[in-house]
Amino acid sequence: MWWDLWGYLSPIADWASLPSLVVSGLALFEITRLRRHIIDRVRLPVLVASLRKHGKNFADHLKSYESPEGRQEFSLEIAKCETNLRLVRTKISRTGRQRADELLKLIKGYRASDATGDQTEAAWRIYTDLNGLLEELKNFVAEQRMGA
């Protein structure tokens, strides 16, 4: 009789809930990914603008790099720039990330030997490479704005 089937409903429902659990998990993963993507798209132009500001400040500090005060200001700027650079690198393309990593390596090297020897060349290299990264990011941010 039909009520004999009643006993099968419970295990059927149990098994049917498994695919729905998988679907829910995928939906949650997608929503989280989308949320992170949207936040990154909003934050990236702000972070790029702050990197541009660091570049401008580097250029100013390089003017007085010969003096201990100038070098100290440059080092302080580097610390601020490093923080923003780490935030930017997680939100950009692979090529941009490669450049950011190279720059972070340069910064690490500069900070490691900050007190020893002439660091003028390294300081100029950091400024130049930051500008190279900014050129790369200019296109990336423009593409994001166009919805690519």
Binding site: K56, R99, W124, T128, G132, E135, K138
Partner: protein, 133 residues
Amino acid sequence: MAAIATSKDKAVQFIAKLLRLTQTGAIEWSVGPSPHDTDEIAFTASIEERMVRLYQFNEEVRTVTTWDDADTMLSIRPNSEKRITRSTALDVLSDGYVAYTFKNQAGLSDLYDSVAYAASKVEDLMDAVLAKA
């Protein structure tokens, strides 16, 4: 870095080098008229027997803000807004004509600030005023 070096990198390196040479006083910049606006100035210098001209100007740019669905799905119209931005350009001159222009390249506005500071001889002015009794 060498693996991902492009001609853009070369331009960035060129501008950074100009900044460095300007800061050390190896390049002498002189003041002249801007090609864009008569009220503004440009800075010119001779580098390797070539003339270069650096200036800033206001430029109207359109930026896409949102996308609107038009009559059909195939015709989506961008909503854009006009903005006035400050642009920086470096002309490479050949026989008085513009042969090439670097525009809004990263570091170009830093170069402009440094050149304006050096060409206006602000340092000399400050020293002269501060030396007065």
